[in-house]
Amino acid sequence: MSAVGAAPRLEGRGNRGSASWMVVPALVLLIGFFALPYLTIITMSLREASTRAVYGDGFTLAHYTTALGDLYIWGILGRTLLIGATVTVISLLLGYPVAYHLAKSRSRWTSLLYIFVLSPLLVGLVVRTFAWMIILSNNGVANQALQAVGLINFPLQLMNNPLGVTIALTHVFLPFIILPLLGNLQAISPDLAMASRSLGASRMRTFWKVTLPLSMPGIQAGTILVFVLSISAYVTPAMLGGTGGRTMSVLVVQYLVDNFRWPAGAALAIIMAAVAVLFVGLYLRLTARAMRRLP
């Protein structure tokens, strides 16, 4: 009886009140560290430029119109999106088999594979990127190895271009697609695949018709994560991209930090954020539609 009697008190007014307090830190965090900075950046992007003050007195849309009318900026934006898309596709192709294996494996070596998967995240970003510089430079390990086996006579340009950035970003963001996929694949009941096999479907057909469609939520989550992280990455493109692999985030930092052009840099940051939201929204819509059509 007492337990039954206690239940209404747990949901009573007093407890609702104390639970409400728990919202406040998150609310403050959201307003203080998300909404306000974004508002500040938007306001800054509308300020007039000045070399005699941090920004001019008036407001203008000039930073947006200049950026959007500049083919150079469009080129960098396109390159950024292309790098993001390429990293996402390669990560998916490499990560899916690993996640699938991890989800199905009962081996005692599985934990070792988990460590391998997480290994890119266990080393500092700058250290990891320096390692890629040593591997990909003109006199680096990769070129020396290719020259030693006689495959090339002159060093390949493996960095200071989008290729180097794509390789290094794929390396670091691979765990971000494997982990959501792994959770998703582990949640799929093995009975479904067994039922498919018992009805005569081959292993491949079972994968295409049962496992892959059911893992779509994991694919969606992982690809969005990798895409967004890739297009907003800074350190890797800054160190490995050079002038040929410059991305929007590098350009934004250059405007803001190197050239002290806060209004123009803020406008570029807003354009980049808007394009990212647009692409992610479009992708969500397309994948949601594809998932609705699944059997």
């Binding site: 609702r16 009140g17 639970a19 409400s20 307090w21 919202v23 406040v24 830190p25 609310l27 403050v28 203080g32 430029a49 000045s50 070399t51 005699r52 003050a53 941090v54 150079y72 320096f130 510089m133 040593i134 430079s137 003109n138 006199n139 680096g140 200071n160 800054a238 160190m239 050079g242 002038t243 040929g244 410059r246 350009l251 250059q254 930090v257 190197d258 050239n259 002290f260 052009r261 806060w262 123009a264």
Partner: protein, 344 residues
Amino acid sequence: MKLTRREFAVGMTTAIASMTLPRLAAAQSPLVVPTYGGLWAKFWEEKLLPGLTSATGIQPQLDVGLGKDFVAKIRAGGGRSPYSIFMGNENIAAVLRAEGFFEPFDLAKVPNAAKTFPQFINKDAKGIRAIVSPIGLAYRTDLVKTAPTSWHDLWENPEFKGKTGLYQIGNTGAVLFLRLVAELFGSGPDDFDTAFAKIKELLPFTQASWSGEVATALIRGDAIIAPVDWTEIMTLQDKGAPVAIVAPKEGVLAFEQSFNLVASGAEKDAAHAYLNYILDAKVQQDMAKAFYTSPSNSESVVDDAMKARTPIVGPRMAEIKSYDWDSYVDRAAEIADRWNREMA
């Protein structure tokens, strides 16, 4: 989960108070001294600041970062700068000066300024370039047959074609080089059209964001020659790397750390005392020993051992090309944009 107005108000007040308290605390903090990381931070922590405290009684607080970080903090601080004194490359300091964040030093409070080589004291004491790291032509001793003697060698020695390393435009080293090339080949340090045309002749070249990256390119052999500061090359030599650095006959460039009095700073007397200590002959000597800068104090002792490693000392300080950056500020953005588009 319904939040009453009273609960919301109390929550917000607590949150705002928690955000405000550190600011109030900061207002009561001592002189905040900005410096760079690595060897610089080590020297500041272990030698310079304890020395300052025993000489003046000032107990400063160290802030380690990049010159551009200090700029951002001063700009973001508006009328309440976290620093009373700024340290950064002169071209960066010129930006804040143009924006009205600095005021002239009272040289009566900086007696050591009288012993400083005059070329490092800006007009009307609007900034003193107190720490000087000369930039020469560094090269790989094992890969270069004819050692450079002139900046012109970058264009004329075929060994260097496609094997040159340069700073990218975000680094002061690149703008210094741009102005040097404008002066060498054009009508003066502001002849940027000529400078761009000549530097484009060096393409393709490796571009690096900071001296450490130039050093890495040299060590890897991706570049066999590059304009770099003595500090970086001496440090590499100490590690046994096959690199050397020469002072070209036309003169050298230099990273000049400009100290400026922040108008909205709260500790202006302490800032003057700090600068005076930085300019002290012995302190300048110690810095030169710690990270191979060239003493800006004309009374600093420069022995043969120091001259052998960092030759641009004493009377040879006149070989440093010091540029005026106040007018450059108006063109900096356009030049950075142009570099990005043309030097690819």
